[in-house]
């Protein structure tokens, strides 16, 4: 009889520990799914004196929100890196103003270019996908506003998570004067899913 009790107790312990392992893993999976890597960065200060006809890189360096430690800062190539492999969605909001005279209905354009390394060295980078959004001077006081959104898949190269990210640029056709992209402008990126 005592053996039966002992076996019963051991069975219950095994069941409890297996359930503990499985449920803990499930909770971590679901909790992690609701907290996927996300980054929002603003310019932090005005980017001024932008000449017409020349695309300038926007350097978003001030974190407004980040939920992963160790997220890379801007790379040497000034693109904002993804945190890890996966399918990503990203976007940008720009508020821009004219520094002097306005060229009526001239174009303002936000460009987002996904950089993918051809090798492990970040210096060998090619452009493979670009997204953009263009608006025209509205003639309304208070500045012009732009948003753009895109998606990308970030894969490791030869098993290594080589750098890859998004280059954000601004270009305009306001030939009458330079323009400023305001400090509150921000970029964002969020991981949608795993690759496997």
């Amino acid at each position: 009889m005592s053996d039966l009790y002992a076996n019963g107790a051991l069975m219950m312990q095994a069941l409890a520990e297996q359930a503990d392992t499985d449920i803990t893993a499930l909770k971590a999976t679901y909790s992690g799914f609701a907290r996927r890597p996300t980054l929002i960065r603003s310019l932090g200060s005005d980017q001024t004196s932008i000449n017409s006809g020349t695309a300038v890189t926007l350097t978003f360096t001030t974190n407004s929100f980040v939920n992963r430690t160790g997220w890379p800062t801007l790379s040497a190539l000034n693109y904002t890196p993804f945190f890890e492999s996966g399918a990503w969605i990203f976007g940008v909001y720009l508020k821009c103003t004219v520094d002097g005279a306005t060229t009526a209905t001239s174009q303002r354009e936000a460009r987002m270019t996904v950089q993918t390394p051809t090798g492990l060295a970040p210096s060998s980078v090619q452009t493979f996908t670009g997204y953009g959004s263009a608006v025209f001077d509205s003639g309304v006081a208070g500045g012009d506003f732009l948003t753009a959104m895109g998606t990308a898949v970030y894969q490791s190269i030869s098993g290594s998570a080589a750098n890859q990210g998004v280059l954000f640029e601004f270009i305009h056709a306001n030939v009458a004067s330079t323009m400023t992209v305001k400090a509150e402008s921000f970029m964002w990126m969020h991981k949608l899913s795993e690759l496997e």
């Binding site: 069941l15 799914f33 976007g91 959004s133 509205s138 506003f145």
Partner: protein, 186 residues
């Protein structure tokens, strides 16, 4: 004195203790409770708060004035506390803290000439992001969308607003707002 597991603290009898119906029931009850919590996490992760509200039809608005859109129809609204199609229809109320993906679009028209249009997203009355443009040629209608994210707290109010500049009378012809949570803040 029973033992318990490391994480969920499921109770089990030690070897040598008497296994009873009560000890078995205690374990079953504890596992059931943990699964209930897990299922809530599953629903929260896979079905985040989402609202898709819209309005079709002409609504006149004052020229050169940012105006919140009244969204009197909805295709999806969960939890229902996010939006009402009859009361305060311009509001989408965030149910939890989080980063929210927001897409808004407006169809703005003018009876004579439309010179500028703007679609904006506001949070508690302050513009978070927007798109603004001018038709390059004479126009009386323009659809403009805007996409971005909002760092939100529970109870924050998100609105879609539009503005037109031009001559004649103008306003919304249609508008659409989609809000869904991407992730928690912590």
């Amino acid at each position: 004195m029973p033992g318990s597991t490391t994480n969920e603290h499921f109770p089990y009898p030690y070897e040598g203790e008497t296994v009873t119906a009560v000890s078995q029931q205690n374990l079953a009850t504890a596992i059931d409770a943990a699964l209930t919590v897990t299922d809530a996490l599953r629903l929260d992760a896979l079905k985040p708060p989402t609202c898709m509200a819209f309005r079709f039809g002409s609504v006149a608005i004052t020229v050169n004035t940012d105006t919140a859109a009244n969204l009197t129809s909805a295709t999806f609204n969960d939890p229902t506390s996010m939006h009402s199609t009859s009361v305060n229809t311009d509001q989408v109320i965030l149910p939890t803290n989080g980063i929210y993906l927001v897409h808004g679009e407006t169809n703005l028209t003018a009876t004579t000439t439309l010179t500028a249009v703007k679609t904006a997203i506001t949070q508690n009355g302050t513009q978070v992001f927007a798109q603004q443009s001018s038709p390059k040629s004479a126009s009386t209608g323009w659809i403009l969308d805007t996409d971005g994210v909002v760092i939100g707290q529970a109870g924050d109010i998100i609105r879609l607003s539009g503005r037109w500049s031009g001559t004649g009378t103008g306003g919304f012809q249609g508008c659409f707002l989609h809000v869904t949570r991407l992730c928690y803040l912590v």
